[in-house]
Amino acid sequence: MNLEPVSVALKLGFLVVLYLFLLWVVRSALKDLRRAQPSADAAYVEEAPPADATAMHSAADDMLGDHVGGGEPRLVVEHAAGHPDGIAYDLSSGATLGRGNVEIRLEDPFASSQHARIERQGGVLVLEDLGSTNGTFLNEEQLRGIQPLHHGDRIRIGDSEFSYLQD
């Protein structure tokens, strides 16, 4: 029996299965690319916080955060490129952290240009991630939404670490 057609069919079949497999893998890579798009844009577009955020937190800030009261809120550098260790930044009027033109400049390749913001809401200071690409970590937990700050909290962005003090 002549097996040559079978042999050719097998070769073509091999190539077809191979390309279908590759199509399947490439599709997932494309999906990743599309998903990455909006978040990358968001890192550079600074938006005002959602309207309800302030209301929600000022209503419940008694339970959420330490009242600043007479204390002096400040951000102390644990280690961050471009900042001497141990230096403290005054936070009484809030501050934005990021790689761009902001109050506390980070020379960290993992930081976005407008990475995170600390601001006073009611009697407490809150930390908010501004849609950064790599996230902000509060006490080694990724920040979700707006979180109030407590004395001794640790804030990490990329490899830069700060602690929040108010006494």
Partner: protein
């Protein structure tokens, strides 16, 4: 669909490919009846599927969140390798299959014992020293083995010729990732601008230069250009990712250019390779040092668009003289192009490309810098290895003997690359694990 179910789905085409490949090789040999044919190729396909399933179930338990595409991609590469080597020689294919089993065991062992791969950071200087020592070994008398002017192997009698560069590449990537994690900030902050070029501070850069210099020196000693390109390329990739400074890469390329020029003009067997590369079809060289590359180009041209089919390429002249020297190791890519054509070869390269893409993706997802740098380094060294050998075989760069990962015949290459895969999966599992 969960990550592990995706992985399971991806293994099905891989085993179909093995079955189809083996069936085609059997038919081309024409020595078997039809029943035997379908039985035997199905058996090979099933054994392959069984091994992959074993590894898959292990991953399901050990690394449930790891990237689902890396392992099926490797399975497809392995299938290319097994079918091609079987088509060249049955005994070699059996040995290759045994190495795959050993490789899978080492893969599992790596995952079990390095669950917390970040403890590798504590041993970075030991790892760096061990890698450099490994690179030295082939130059020692008795155990060292010289192949075509390069000292690449260590003879372990009765078992194999062990190729230390394959493992040294892992060690050097681990060292660089861990060292750069600590110093990348200082490298950037302390940088000064001299004549418009940003120079890193010597205090922190010197250890890197030292390791690089040692590796280069060793490579002059063992005389292998391909591996030096691999190591140095990975070094520059890591440096760039760690510091985001192109000027460092520029300085590195300059240094590499000087090193390559020196090797190309002063070390005789490298000079030969460069001459052959510049003029591969020169009739004066065809009989000796140009034979390999010229025949590699002929074989690839013979493949055309769709190739000659499995078993269709001519391997020997009628009087038994080999047409493609080192066809199961260095030149296996030329044989694949000959039998599967441009279409098949492009598919093989896309498989490698996707593997590297998954590696970089893992690096992007990783949450700490050591993991990011490790994944980048491993993906880069893997990509460069493919570039060095495919580039060599297609005469883009001078041909040097490194293996085509997971495809070429060779124990140390398979073992080392399975460890590389295990490390990537470990990083990926940690990165994708929901907090």
């Amino acid at each position: 669909m969960s990550a592990r179910n995706r992985e399971l789905l991806g293994l099905i085409p891989a085993s179909l490919l093995v079955t189809a490949g083996f069936a085609a090789v059997f038919i081309e040999r024409g020595s078997l009846s039809q029943n035997e044919l379908s039985d035997l190729s199905l058996t090979y396909g099933l054994i392959f599927l069984g091994l992959c399933l074993g590894a898959h179930i292990f991953l399901r338990i050990a690394l449930p969140y790891a990237d689902p595409y890396l392992f099926p991609l490797v399975a497809v590469l392995a299938c290319f390798g097994l079918v091609m080597i079987y088509r060249i020689d049955d005994t070699l294919a059996r040995q290759q299959a045994q190495w795959f089993v050993v490789g899978l065991l080492l893969f599992a062992a790596t995952i079990v014992f390095l669950r917390d791969y970040r403890k590798l950071e504590q041993y970075r200087y030991v790892i760096a020293a061990a890698s450099l020592a490994l690179l030295c070994l082939p130059r020692l008398p008795v155990i060292g083995a010289q192949v075509n002017g390069a000292y690449l192997g260590i003879r372990i009698p009765g078992v194999m010729v062990f190729q230390p560069t394959e493992f040294a590449k892992l060690g050097i990537v681990i060292f660089l990732a861990s060292y750069l994690r600590d110093t990348r900030q200082v490298l950037v902050v302390g940088a000064r601008r001299v004549l418009g070029v940003t120079l890193p501070p010597l205090k922190h850069f010197a250890p890197l230069l030292l390791v690089w210099g040692m590796a280069m020196l060793l490579l002059i000693v063992i005389r292998d250009l391909g591996s030096s390109l691999m190591f140095f390329g990975a070094f520059l990739a890591l440096l760039y990712v760690a510091t985001n400074r192109f000027s460092f890469v520029f300085i590195g390329l300059l240094l590499f250019g000087i090193g390559a020029w020196y090797l190309g003009t002063h070390v005789s067997h490298v000079t030969d390779r460069v001459d052959v590369w510049l003029d591969p079809l020169n009739p004066a060289r065809y009989g000796n040092e140009g034979y390999q590359i010229a025949n590699s180009l002929f074989a690839q041209a013979d493949g055309g668009l769709l190739g000659r089919g499995f078993g269709g390429a001519l391997l020997e002249t009628p009087n038994g003289f080999p047409l493609l020297p080192a066809r199961e190791t260095d030149l296996i890519y030329a044989l694949i192009v000959n039998e599967l054509g441009l279409v098949g070869a492009a598919a093989l390269l896309i498989v490698y490309l996707m593997f590297v893409e998954r590696g970089f993706k893992t690096a992007l997802l990783a949450r700490d810098s050591f993991s990011t740098l490790l994944a980048v380094g491993l993906a880069a060294v893997f990509a460069l290895q493919v570039f060095v050998i495919v580039g060599g075989v297609t005469n883009v760069i001078p041909l040097t003997g490194v293996t085509l990962p997971f495809v070429s015949y060779g124990g140390s290459s398979i073992l080392a690359n399975f460890v590389l895969l295990a490390l990537l999966l470990l990083v990926s599992d940690k990165a994708r694990r929901p907090a």
